[in-house]
């Protein structure tokens, strides 16, 4: 009986929820596509190979390792330093004995200036950013769709009030 009474409201709420979800989804995705940057991606492994003879070339002031143009990472990326040189190397917290690979998961978004034994100047800057992934976009959708649905529902009630079923029936009978 209760459900029957509030059925039109529930249906209206369901419809406004679907409209809000679609509207907010299109809006969010539109802005995401407009503002999308290279670091908006899922975490991955970024490998840096330190070839044999690097220490000698660095000591002679030469660039020995080809480093990515932009050292921009996202939280969750794994930074992998493959040391093929005959001596140990380090990149900030990653210390790699000769012939081994050092692997570190970047957990914190920040700009780092690390001491680096295979970069000219012995310093390397790393920019670790928070990525905009499918998960963060879905979270944004989950956070913004409910208030929009409530707003549309209330607006709908004011603009297009639901007619009372009993009154409607009485009026019909009277006529």
């Amino acid at each position: 009986m209760m459900i029957q009474r509030y059925r039109p409201y529930l249906i209206r709420l369901l419809i406004t929820s679907v409209i809000a979800l679609v509207f907010v989804g299109i809006l969010n995705e539109g802005f995401y596509l407009l503002q999308r940057e290279q670091h908006d991606r899922a975490p991955r492994t970024v490998q840096i190979v330190v070839p044999i003879g690097t220490a000698e070339r660095i000591a002679a002031g030469e660039a020995a390792v080809s480093l990515p143009e932009e050292m921009v990472f996202v939280v969750g990326d794994t930074l992998e330093v493959v040391n093929q040189d005959s001596v140990q190397h380090e990149l900030g917290p990653i210390w790699v004995p000769a012939g081994s690979t050092g692997r570190l998961v970047l957990e914190e978004a920040n700009k780092f200036a690390f001491s680096c034994t295979f970069a000219p100047g012995n310093y390397l800057g790393l920019d670790v950013r928070l990525p905009t992934t499918l998960g963060t976009r879905l979270t944004a959708l989950a956070l913004s769709a409910p208030p929009m649905a409530v707003f549309l529902f209330i607006y709908g009630l004011l603009a297009f009030p639901i007619k009372d079923g009993k009154k409607k029936k009485t009026l019909e009978a009277g006529a």
Binding site: I94, P97, S100, T101, R103
Partner: protein, 201 residues
């Protein structure tokens, strides 16, 4: 009847989702908190003098996890924090701490005598092993562990300071270099890794 189908369908979907999440959580390999060295090479062995004046050889610690930090007792910042972290790690490990050796190797042998080390480490935990030696004995150890150290005299009444590497090294029970930790690394991250390595055995 229809409601029963809906409930059954929703329940099945939820159950499958839970299974999927559980599989993702438990089947994925352990992710180390520190910087992993792979393959782990044998850690360079050394023999130095501990705070009791007794010789300490790294290779004698086989079967235990060894955490090594290079520092000095007059250090105003990094070393006290790391030694406090060592104490916290030891406390958090409880009985398992018996399988972990905490080592503090000096980068200031001129001032860090056996007596000085004993008094200083007593402030944190006497179980932390402090190692010293002559500069000639320590230099190969620093070199093998990639430790930078340089004295810096700023005219302070407390004497000179020593700039040094602030990394912590984890050597596994097989005697291999396995992980390193930056100074900023939270001690709870080290605890997780140590527990995982101890459970591997």
């Amino acid at each position: 009847m229809r409601l029963r189908y809906i409930l059954f369908g929703t329940g099945s979907v939820l159950f499958l989702a839970l299974l999927l999440v559980g599989w993702r959580v438990f089947a994925s390999p352990y992710r180390y908190q520190g910087s992993l060295i792979d393959p782990p090479p044998p850690a360079a062995d050394f023999s130095l003098t501990d705070q009791s004046g007794q010789p300490f050889r790294l290779s004698d610690q086989r079967g235990k996890v060894v955490l090594i930090f290079f520092g000095y007792t007059h250090c105003p910042d990094v070393c006290p924090i790391t030694l406090t972290d060592f104490r916290r790690i030891k406390e958090a490990l409880g009985n398992k701490a018996e399988k972990v050796t905490f080592v503090f190797i000096t980068v200031d042998p001129e001032r860090d005598s056996v007596e000085r080390l004993k008094a200083h480490l007593g402030n944190y935990d006497p179980a932390i092993i402090g190692l010293t030696g002559t500069r000639a004995e320590l230099e190969p150890v620093w070199k093998n562990y990639g430790v930078y150290q340089a004295q810096r005299d700023e005219g302070s009444a407390a004497g000179y300071l020593v700039d040094h590497t602030a990394r912590t090294y984890l050597i596994d029970p097989q005697g291999n270099w396995r992980l390193t930790y930056a100074f900023e690394m939270d001690h709870s991250a080290i605890i997780k890794d140590v527990q995982h390595i101890l459970a591997e055995r």
